[in-house]
């Protein structure tokens, strides 16, 4: 488990991270969402032990992380622009990381290289941006660390590759309890990967929740009521987050479980009623609007 407690970091007069407290549970995919400059990379670099927090504490499996080799043995950090040695190919990078990480799996690495069509003899400098990110991810995965920190790593990966990486994550999580932490400014990129999401804004955490919890507790309903009286009766006891009306068709976002919604609307007379699936984006819109933010301005625009 990674505990980030009341961590702050300033660069000169700019406060990049302001009293962030987040807990990252093991064996989950944690998404760190935020706009450019929200502090995602700074948080990740502090968690990876690259930077020292000005205030607060970061612990990886109850160990302080900064300049702590034991803590770092459990993590692999893929920066937004991963560094490869000048003139190196995949083999040279493998040799380096396998000399550093005790559990680096060479066979697996070369197997993945083949699967991802990455030439092990080709100079990395000739790789595309996406290929470099794939290579960095494979190096990270094959290092067999418990935690894998990815800073904007999925940005630029094509859907096929994303799916491939996602499959590897699933396999590694199942086999050895890998805990990927993925920072991104793009909510849509994390939607199908993350289990838990933390939203950073202006250096602080707006919210941190399990996606499943969020999805279970917010529902979107489309319906046509038989009368205004029925509508009042139906909506009166619900915690409505948002309501849109187009003619007689009402689209309502509300905080409740699906079962409760179904049971509730069964008692109401409707011409049409349907529970719609919610996208992560819609969940975030709803959640952040509750705390007074317009998410579209934060990360979707």
């Amino acid at each position: 488990m990674i505990e980030i407690y009341d961590v702050s970091k300033s660069f000169g007069s700019i406060k990049a991270v302001d009293a962030v407290s987040v807990t990252i549970k093991e064996n989950t995919v944690f998404g760190l969402i935020g706009t450019n400059g929200a502090g995602k990379s700074t948080v990740l670099r502090m968690v990876a032990g690259v930077m020292k927090p000005d205030e607060g504490m970061i612990a990886v499996d109850n160990m302080p992380v900064y300049d702590n080799v034991e803590a770092k043995k459990r993590m692999f950090f893929i920066a937004d622009e991963p560094y490869f040695f000048s003139g190196a190919n995949a083999i040279i990078m493998e040799r380096y990381y396998s000399s550093i990480y005790e559990n680096f799996n060479k066979e697996e690495f070369y197997l993945y290289l083949t699967k991802f069509n990455l030439d092990k003899d080709r100079k990395i400098s000739t790789f595309s941006k996406g290929m470099k990110k794939q290579l960095a991810l494979l190096l990270g995965i094959c290092s067999h660390t418990k935690y894998l920190f990815c800073d904007e790593t999925f940005d630029g990966l094509d859907p096929v590759m994303r799916q491939g990486i996602k499959s590897i994550f699933a396999k590694e999580m199942e086999e050895r309890g890998l805990t990927p932490v993925i920072a991104s400014h793009n909510l849509r990129e994390l939607e199908d990967i993350c289990d838990h999401v933390g939203l950073l804004h202006r250096g602080g955490v707006l919210l941190s929740k399990d996606l499943e919890d969020m999805k279970c507790n917010i529902q979107k309903v489309q319906c046509v009521f038989t009368s205004a009286e029925e509508e009042r009766k139906a909506l009166g006891n619900l915690e409505i987050l948002k309501k849109e009306q187009r003619g007689s068709l009402s689209t309502i976002t509300l905080r409740s479980t699906k079962e409760e919604v179904m049971a509730h609307f069964a008692t109401v007379s409707t011409v049409f009623f349907e529970v719609l699936p919610l996208s992560l984006e819609e969940i975030f819109i709803s959640e952040t609007e509750v705390v007074g933010y317009d998410i579209k301005k934060l990360i979707l625009s």
Binding site: A48, V50, P82, F85, S99, I100, E102
Partner: protein, 714 residues
């Protein structure tokens, strides 16, 4: 089997990233040392074939010297060691400049301490292994050619250690520069600042002292700007070590052991500071000009103050001492430098006007420093140590002397500077007399108009400190005579000032190397070298009557010149008419001839009047600037030459002349008339041996006969 992530594995990985530095180091050292040695030895062998070395022993000695010159103490290697030190340090830690590299290296499970140690040790190996192999290879090459013996080996070993320590200092300094900065260009500036700013600062301080103070300088002042710059100290120290003849001598040990100790301590301190900065350096410093913002104002003020004061010095010089202009230039230079520093800090030209408070502080500091110098706030010019604090004093009063030391180890003469000789040999104890003379000289300020003379004084304080100053003595001020007699008339002075007063000369050993001549000007007689000791003893006895009054009011009647060894220089013994013991001995060797000329020996006298006084007067009257006045006046006043051969005229002329090539020694400098050049031609059939047959003379001031003045007038 080496385990993963071990020190050795990490170290090997680090070496892989430093291949090009290895190549540079190998090329730089393996090519330079053996190549230079091979060239030296080859050249000497060719010369030997041509017969340059008559004996096998001499040939061997030259070969040994060549090996030492190639791989011993040699300042010529300073640049290549310096460049290697900088390259190895900067390349090793250059990952700190790059965010991508920092992200990778700092996130992997290798401790900061281990990473530093690996990069640091590998850096030393990159220098050390090629240096060691190159030295070994050179010694093998030299050994095969018979150019190595125990002494050569010992010197090469000592030099190897000196070079290693110097490398470490440069290496650690460059590491510190990397730790304090965030990009390569600023690191370059920082390295230059660390290595040379101390030297520049001391040079500037010395220059300003010369500019502002009257008592600065003197022979005993040791200009040692390298004290604050080990980069420059290497040059000074290694050259000194190279001059020491015996590698196992006490002198070598006294010179090299403190050097080793000092450089080791400096290197250790720099390493500790570098490591501390490395640990404290934040990852976010990557790409910044300065890694620790807290030091920015101090760096800015330090560099801008040096630039501002340097601008002042240059402006003073180019504006012919226009102080107002120089102050303006100083302030502008300081402000501009502050602006440039701010622009460098932020990599933004618009930042030149940032942090005006520190810019203002800097301007105030340079103005304060200027005022300290201008108004001599610290009392530099008026400083005289308290008499009770002074152990002894050395002064340099008197005519120039040639000094040398006898090296009993290899029975040779080493010429030394007057400064070091007087420093080692003169210990005056009439401190009150010197201090009183200095006090009177201070009253004259820096005026140097008549026959004032700059005197160097070295105060040796009881605390062990030495203070060197210079002051002015008015040579013709009779009130100084008593004080000067209390100084010059002492045995301490004579023993310290005159080389031949020192009783350490092995005359018998030196016999074959000495050539002694006596001259009164036109006549020069060689004395047998066997007479050396008798001459010296007679002269030393005569010198017991020597004091300032005697020397100032009497003219020398001849000079005994000693030429020792292969030097072109001669050490002089001035002879006065009252030196009866010496003159008697000279007469015994039939070498004494009076200085007073005999009219019957003279064929004729050619006198040229250059009218120097008139010319100067005309320049002043013309009001032209100096350079133009010379041109104008030159066209109006011409030298006039006349020839005199009448016996009566010759009688009158020779009564008023003095040999031009014999110095004025302790007499007044303006004893001779500078307007006239006199060339006396001697007859060929004279009793006296007038060597060349002619000789140049000068009139005593104001004693040129009227008919000469008249006939050589315009």
């Amino acid at each position: 089997m080496t385990s993963k992530n071990s020190f050795l594995v990490n170290s090997k990985e680090n070496h892989k990233r430093r291949t090009w530095v290895w190549i540079v180091s190998i090329l730089a050292q393996l090519l330079i040392y053996p190549s230079v040695l091979t060239l030296y030895l080859g050249r000497i062998k060719i010369w030997n074939k041509e017969g340059a070395y008559p004996t096998e022993a001499l040939f061997k000695k030259v070969m040994y010297d060549a090996t030492v010159e190639a791989i011993g103490f040699q300042s010529k290697y300073v640049i290549h060691i310096l460049i290697l030190g900088v390259i190895i340090a900067v390349q090793g830690f250059s990952y700190l400049y790059d965010k991508k590299k920092v992200d990778m290296y700092k996130s992997v499970p290798v401790s900061e301490k281990r990473r530093f140690t690996i990069i640091y040790i590998n850096g030393i190996l990159i220098y050390l292994i090629p240096a060691f192999i190159a030295t070994l290879l050179s010694l093998l090459i030299a050994g095969v050619q018979g150019a190595v013996n125990g002494t050569v080996l010992a010197e090469c070993a000592l030099a190897f250690l000196v070079n290693l320590l110097y490398f470490l200092i440069v290496y650690h300094t460059s590491m510190l520069a990397v730790m304090l900065t965030g990009n390569l260009v600023v690191t370059g500036f920082a390295v230059l600042t660390f290595l040379f700013s101390g030297y520049v600062a001391v040079m500037l301080y010395n220059s300003l002292k010369w500019l502002f103070f009257d008592t600065v300088g003197g022979l005993f002042t040791e200009e040692t700007p390298h004290k604050l710059s080990i980069a420059m100290e290497y040059l000074a120290k290694v050259n000194r070590l190279a001059r020491i003849k015996s590698v196992s001598s006490k002198e070598m040990m006294e010179a090299i052991l403190p050097l080793y100790a000092k450089w080791f301590v400096v290197a250790a301190l720099l390493l500790a500071l570098s490591y501390w900065c490395y640990r404290k350096r934040p990852a976010e410093a990557t790409g910044q000009a300065i890694a620790f913002p807290v030091i920015k104002p101090f760096v800015k003020v330090f560099i801008s103050a040096i630039v501002g004061l340097s601008a002042f010095y240059v402006a003073e010089d180019v504006s012919y001492h226009n102080t107002a202009f120089a102050i303006f230039t100083m302030v502008v230079g300081c402000v501009l430098c502050c602006g440039v520093m701010e622009a460098i800090y932020d990599f933004d030209i618009r930042s030149v006007i940032r942090h005006l408070a520190s810019t203002g502080t800097c301007v105030v500091i340079v103005i304060v420093i200027f005022c300290i110098f201008q108004f001599d706030v610290l009392g530099y010019d008026t400083y005289i140590p308290a008499i009770d604090d002074i152990e002894s004093i050395a002064v340099d009063i008197g005519p120039y002397q040639q000094y040398w030391e006898w090296d009993s180890a290899d029975e040779s003469i080493t010429y030394v500077s007057d400064t070091s000789y007087l420093k080692e040999n003169m210990f005056l104890t009439d401190i009150e007399a010197v201090c009183e003379l200095v006090r009177k000289g201070q009253g004259l300020g820096g005026v140097y108009e008549n026959d004032e003379r700059f005197i160097s004084v070295l105060y040796r304080l009881k605390s062990g400190r030495e203070v060197s100053k210079r002051f002015i003595v008015d040579w013709n001020d009779e009130s100084n005579e008593e004080l000067l007699n209390r100084i010059v008339g002492t045995k301490e002075y004579r023993d310290g000032f005159y080389r031949f007063m020192k009783d350490d000369i092995p005359y018998d050993t030196l016999r074959k190397q000495i050539r002694i001549t006596y001259t009164n000007g036109p006549i020069e007689c060689e004395l047998p070298s066997a007479s050396a000791k008798r001459l010296r003893d007679a002269w030393a006895k005569d010198m017991e009557q020597f004091d300032f009054t005697m020397a100032k009011h009497n003219r020398v009647c001849g000079v005994i010149n000693w030429k020792i060894g292969n030097s072109y220089s001669e050490t002089e013994m001035p002879i006065y008419e009252s030196f009866t013991n010496t003159i008697a001995l000279l007469k015994e060797y039939e070498a004494y001839y009076p200085m007073q000329l005999r009219a019957e020996d003279i064929d004729g006298i050619e006198i040229t009047n250059y009218h120097v006084d008139e010319q100067e007067e005309a320049e002043i009257m013309s009001g032209f600037p100096e350079a133009e006045a010379v041109d104008v006046v030159d066209t109006q006043i011409k030298p006039v030459t006349q020839y005199f051969e009448e016996p009566q005229e010759i009688e009158e002329i020779i009564a008023a002349v003095f040999p031009q090539e014999i110095g004025y020694y302790w007499n007044s400098r303006d004893m001779l008339d500078r307007n006239f050049d006199i060339l006396i031609t001697f007859k060929t059939d004279t009793e006296y041996p007038y060597g060349r047959g002619f000789y140049s003379y000068k009139f005593f001031k104001g004693q040129a006969p009227g008919f000469v003045v008249e006939r050589t007038a315009q």
